[in-house]
């Protein structure tokens, strides 16, 4: 099943991982060390973040480095901006309707 971006961001540890990755690319081992977690626990979080494309991987020699995928986050923010725009449109329509009704009632 495709990972849900909301679920991914809802977890405080994953948000912390994203914050850290936004500053520098890290290997799973380095992440485990920084967060004082087991490799298994880190792998689980990586899997979730990777599947919803919030992070990207890059092979460097024998190591895999994970990067923050800012583009995906922007996409998400873009979605929300569109959602906001829809509401604005609806409310402007309601303004017009309220004006019309008030005129009729006068």
């Amino acid at each position: 099943m495709k990972q849900d971006i909301f679920q991914a961001i809802a977890d405080p540890t994953r948000r912390a991982i994203l914050t850290l990755l936004a500053i520098q690319a890290l290997t799973p081992n380095a992440m485990a060390e920084k967060f004082d977690m087991t490799r298994q626990a880190v792998s689980k979080h990586i899997k979730v973040l990777y599947e919803c494309e919030l992070i990207k991987s890059e092979q460097s020699g024998r190591e895999i480095y994970y990067h923050f995928n800012a583009k995906k986050m922007q996409e998400f923010d873009h979605w929300l901006a569109q959602f906001r725009q829809n509401w604005e449109t609806q409310f402007n329509q309601l303004d017009q309707l309220l004006t019309t009704i008030k005129k009729q009632n006068q």
Binding site: D4, F6, Q7, I9, A10, P12, W79, T89, D95, I101
Partner: protein, 166 residues
């Protein structure tokens, strides 16, 4: 037209909650009607050129509104609202879920909480939407996604209204 009227839109991604606050230049009872009466809801709730059509609405606790958003090419997106709490003129809560044309709901849906208050003839409406998943929010948007045309049409309408008033 409504430069002084508040419009707030905040998303708490961690809490999967959207907070919307908007002021309207009308009395609380009229704004309440616009949010709770089908014949009024259908006139503003779908962003043009989409339109909304309510098949039936039974506004009482446990009652439902069954409605569709219809796109210009005739596609219908049905949804069911179930009212779970009502304090007349000040608050109502509902559970909203998409459905097929036979009213079979697609769960999970989202929880909506509406609050109304009036001060100096201005009515403030605060809406809280809790979504269990982003996919759900995505669907909410998809329900009326028609790209730029919509925005531009509405902008045109708004501009013509504004210029008429001058």
């Amino acid at each position: 037209m409504n430069n002084d009227l508040l419009f707030d839109f905040n998303v708490d991604k961690a809490a999967k909650t959207v907070y919307i606050t908007r002021e309207f230049n009308a009395a609380q009872s009229l704004v309440w009607d616009a949010f709770t009466k089908a014949e009024l809801l259908d006139q503003w709730m779908a962003p043009a050129p989409m339109r909304a059509k309510t098949k039936y609405m039974d506004f009482k606790v446990g009652g439902r509104r069954f409605y569709a958003m219809i796109s210009p090419d005739g596609q219908e997106r049905w949804a069911v609202q179930e009212f779970t709490f009502i304090t007349p003129k000040t608050n109502f809560k509902m559970y909203n879920a998409f459905a097929d044309k036979d009213e079979n709901r697609e769960l999970p849906g989202s929880d909506w909480d509406y609050n109304f208050s009036e001060e100096n003839g201005i009515t403030k409406v605060s809406i809280t939407i809790y979504n269990e998943s982003f996919e759900r929010l995505e669907k909410l948007l998809e329900g009326f996604r028609i790209g730029f045309t919509m925005t531009l049409t509405n902008l045109e309408n708004l501009l013509s209204t504004l210029s008429e008033k001058q």
